[in-house]
């Protein structure tokens, strides 16, 4: 590669190149000297007109007769350009001094020129408007591109614009740190919070990124943290700069939970579809499958090229003929994660359909799949399961709880069914009657004054929580002008009754429980601030140290509150917003002072302390007053579906088997508000209980089938 030293003056290299002819977009010149051969082209003023660029230095691409590209750098001030591959062109074409060369502008914006040797060609004919099509090849590898910023560094060198070395080296140090980060195994592990990552989760993340090309079905058994696995993969891709645009599709009921988990655990701010104006503008979006596939949004979503698509509860895509399947299959995504604990529910074809979105053809064609794997006796069971499992291992990751060797502590449930005292019972019945009557005279357009549906339901829930919370709400309603007129007297009566109740039986039971746990830490959950304040006062009066956590605290106050509870205080009283994503596993006693009608919220409460990472057995204490709505809800959830013993995440799957468009809470609200009397309420709750039982049974059958397929014997 070493060439002999050639020392020539500029005049020798480019002895006043003469332009033989020139048009608006091209010129022809005769080669004199060996400048071209040595990689230089010196431009005279006429030639410079064809290179009308403002920059001091710019990259020019020449394409020769054989469509080979030559990269040059043009030094405007000095009027020359350097291109190291000119000599290869020279040699290949046996160029000699005196030969004529034409340079023709092809694309001014991209700075592309045509380089033509005009040996033995009548050079007089040019056609500037000629459309030229090129198939680029290159002396160098075409996949290499040079950052445009490089020339700016060169410009500084050339123009002697030097910076102090400590600044120059700082950039270098940054790049070294960045390169070191590339070598880290999983960067995402270092920046997650409140997550106890387990070996199986880390293994999953690495497997998906390193071996499965970022397209996988994450099918761990429920409760093993599929969301964490997806979060780790997502964050890893973001940190490595391989992913920018992400869409997460999840059932509507889980959007907020996903958003919160991604924010608190992975520091990722996803916007839901309500928070965005334009799907195109937002890089991190979470939406329900129904919203995304709606007529309004469908085409926008399909137009975007996503880097990563995550589909939660992917078993909803089991049927290829559904709009869900067709829509998800039509989304453009480089990487795709599908999450489900039950990839097969009724039929092995469901699994085939799921895999067909991830990697079409991976399980061969539909007919071959049927022939090879589908047993005739039971559509759920494969006839060649070892081979199927082998094929699935290249696209699906499934861990069982038993495989992980994680110790799952026990959960003990204690339910206290409390008799209301006389005052409480009277108030309860009075209020329930009031609500039922008012429900049938809801405000209308003609008569907008009155108590709306939501307020009535709220009053019922407040009563279930505490009379103190109810009293506070009633006071507010009465002081507001909106509820004057005919409601005034009834509300005032209810308020008077609430004020006269004194210490409720539920509070007395709570005090007994608190005394019995001695120095152990305890979280008390309530839905209402009124109850929270009342309980905090009562417990403090008894000499307990209490921390209060609710949505009105600032971030700093929330941190301080949790830290106080961890280090100093014995009791934490928290509202629903309590501690999402925060590690509260140092506590093992949880009291449900009141009971949300939405079972998902109850599951979230339990999930605060009984989750992966908890090492000790957990006690859940439910307080409910006899013959109240709360007691019916409790019975429904505890007796019919064993809610308090379910693994976190299982509830959603069971409720999914009810195939109802309304949520369970909506169903309960309708029962409470639309039933004419107590007997009707009880009857409807019983029917609902039967439906839930059926849903639980289906869930158990599906689980058995999964076990058989993925882990059964051949």
């Amino acid at each position: 590669m070493m060439t002999s030293s050639i020392t020539k003056t500029r005049a020798e290299k480019a002895p006043l190149i003469q332009v033989a002819s020139k048009s608006e977009r091209s010129f022809v010149f005769q080669i004199k000297g060996k400048a071209f051969q040595q990689g230089y082209l010196f431009l005279n003023p006429q030639m410079k007109e064809i290179f009308p660029f403002k920059e001091d230095l710019c990259s020019i691409t020449f394409i020769d007769d054989e469509d080979v590209t030559h990269s040059a750098i043009y030094h405007k001030m000095r009027g020359y350009m350097v291109c190291l591959t000119f000599n290869e062109w020279w040699e290949k074409n046996s160029v000699a001094e005196g030969d004529k060369v034409e340079i023709q502008l092809v694309d001014a914006e991209k700075k592309v020129y045509r380089l033509k040797l005009l040996k033995n060609v009548n050079m007089a004919v040019f056609n500037d408007e000629e459309n030229v099509e090129f198939k680029f090849s290159s002396f160098v590898d075409a996949s290499i591109s040079y950052n445009s910023q490089n020339l700016e560094v060169l410009r500084k060198l050339v123009k002697n614009e030097f910076s102090p070395y400590h600044e120059t080296s700082l950039i270098q140090k940054g790049e070294e740190l960045s390169a070191d980060m590339c070598n880290e195994e999983l960067l995402s592990l270092k920046t997650t919070f409140g997550v106890s990552t387990y070996f199986h989760q880390i293994q999953t993340a690495k497997m998906v990124i390193e071996n499965l090309n970022g397209r996988a079905l994450l099918a761990d058994e429920v409760g093993l943290g599929k969301t964490i696995e997806a979060g780790l993969i997502l964050k890893e891709y973001l940190l490595r700069g391989m992913v920018k645009k992400v869409l997460i599709l999840t059932p509507a009921s889980l959007i907020t939970q996903w958003q919160q988990e991604l924010k608190t655990k992975f520091d990722l701010s996803f916007k839901n579809h309500l928070e965005i104006n334009d799907w195109e503008d937002s890089d991190l979006v979470i939406a329900s499958l129904d919203t995304a596939k709606s007529t309004k949004n469908q085409s926008s979503v399909q137009r975007i090229k996503y880097d990563l698509l995550i589909v939660d509860e992917a078993h909803k895509l089991k049927n290829k003929k559904t709009k869900n399947w067709r829509f998800v299959n039509s989304i453009q995504a480089k990487y795709l994660l599908m999450l489900t604990a039950t990839p097969i529910q009724n039929d092995l074809i469901e699994l085939f359909n799921l895999i067909s979105i991830l990697r079409p053809g991976h399980l061969s064609t539909m007919q071959k799949f049927k022939d090879e794997f589908l047993a005739e006796r039971d559509k759920r069971l494969p006839k060649n399961s070892i081979k199927l499992r082998q094929m699935l291992s290249e696209i699906m990751i499934r861990h069982r709880r038993a495989d992980t060797l994680i110790k799952f502590p026990q959960r003990f449930v204690h339910t206290h069914s409390i008799e209301l005292n006389d005052d409480e019972a009277r108030l309860y019945h009075e209020l329930t009657e009031f609500i039922r009557k008012r429900y049938f005279t809801l405000p209308t357009h003609k008569n907008p004054r009155g108590i709306n549906r939501l307020t009535l339901i709220l009053l019922q829930k407040l009563m279930g929580s505490s009379t103190q919370a109810l009293a506070k709400a009633l006071e507010k309603m009465i002081s507001s002008n909106f509820y004057k007129d005919d409601f005034d007297q009834s509300l005032q009566k209810l308020l008077d009754m609430a004020r006269n109740v004194g210490m409720s039986k539920k509070t007395q039971v709570l005090m007994e429980i608190t005394r019995s746990i001695k120095d152990d830490k305890m979280i008390i959950f309530t839905q209402f601030r009124g109850t929270q304040d009342y309980l905090a006062d009562s417990l403090r009066k008894e000499g307990y140290s209490v921390a209060v956590f609710n949505g009105q605290l600032s971030q700093v106050e929330k941190d301080k509150c949790i830290e106080d509870f961890r280090c100093r205080k014995q009791i934490l009283i928290s509202t629903e917003s309590g501690g999402e994503g925060r590690n509260l596993q140092f506590c093992k006693v949880l009291v449900n002072y009141d009971l949300p009608w939405n079972p998902m919220r109850i599951e979230q409460r339990i999930g605060r302390i009984h989750r992966l990472g908890q090492t000790e057995d957990v006690h859940i204490i439910n307080l409910s007053a006899k013959d109240t709505i709360e007691s019916y809800v409790l019975e429904l959830l505890d007796k019919k579906i064993n809610l308090f013993r379910l693994i976190i995440g299982e509830l959603e799957m069971i409720l999914g088997n009810m195939h109802s468009k309304r949520t369970l809470e909506q169903i309960i609200i309708d029962i409470v508000t639309l039933s004419p009397n107590q007997e009707a309420i009880k009857r409807k709750f019983k029917t609902l209980g039967n439906k839930l039982e059926k849903a639980l049974k289906t869930h158990e059958e599906i689980n058995r089938a999964q076990e058989e397929i993925f882990n059964g014997n051949e």
């Binding site: 070493m2 060439t3 030293s5 050639i6 040595q38 990689g39 750098i73 350097v82 291109c83 190291l84 160098v140 996949s143 290499i144 591109s145 040079y146 950052n147 910023q149 700016e152 560094v153 060169l154 500084k156 060198l157 614009e161 030097f162 910076s163 070395y165 400590h166 600044e167 120059t168 080296s169 700082l170 950039i171 270098q172 140090k173 940054g174 790049e175 070294e176 740190l177 960045s178 390169a179 070191d180 590339c182 880290e184 960067l187 995402s188 270092k190 920046t191 919070f193 390193e210 940190l239 299959n329 453009q332 079409p360 053809g361 061969s364 064609t365 071959k368 971030q555 700093v556 830290e563």
Partner: protein
Amino acid sequence: MATNKIKELVFSFMAMVGIKCDEIATDVWAANIPEKEQLFFNSFGILKFTFSRDVAEKHRDIELICDGSFLLRKIIERLSEIPKASRLFSLQEPEVPNTGEKGLRVVNSASIYYRQKVVFNFKVNFECDQRREKLFSIVSDPECRVVDVQRGLIEINPQQFSEAPQPGIKIEESGLDLLRLYLQSCQELENQLAPDIAELKNWGVGQCDEELKKFENYLNEQKKELLRKKENVCFHLYFFQKEEEIDKLINDLEEERNRKVRELKEKFALRVNVSLINAVILCIPTVATSPGKVKKNSAVTLTKAVVKSTMPGIEARSVNC
């Protein structure tokens, strides 16, 4: 990655953009962010940050800066967007070129000049459904006609260099064509990258072909099935409508084929991006072989060094990936 390196980088960056940081508690710093910089720091007026994960876990309002944190990545990206070049002057004794002459030589101070070497520091990103990053330093010494390529970045010891020339020593610039040196360095770099490029290309093509093959079979079967249905469409009551329906499904399949093929090719296509991180001109005091006559050798093609640079003050700092 050592936290100290990160700390040093962050504090140097803050100083560079004129932001003062105070340690307000153990392992917690606060910085008053001027308005013009607030957008960069996520609109914080006062940024509290820590390098300790434990602190950040307890105080979620405090920004954690560690390897993998978004803020650190932003700082590095911002730094990389600032084009920087420096010139340093060696404080070492003048080098005496080996002329092959025997015996003592008299050195006249007037015959000493600064010859220039250029260090180009490059970052190379490979992307092909996986990502690699490599760093290279290339030292071009036009007078010795040597291009020395090093994996990782070399470290220049600032103790052995000054930012100003020694009085009375002139800088010889006539033989130096920086553009040519840069292009030669790029050419040498590309030679170095060839094995990685070949490996990744093969991998990408292999993966892509494998998936394409399965996909084509899968689609072809579906198409065959549809065509079979189309043949039997005459038995259908509204056979025109049915035929149209099937044609549409076949068209959809073709569209899907094109889209997926495009997606796969794009996913496994290799992209290599070369960034010039910075450049440093090193001026080395040298005794002229023949006073006043310095070689002009700008057009000489440099060759790759067989032996690594032994110049004092320069050493390999990092070898990545």
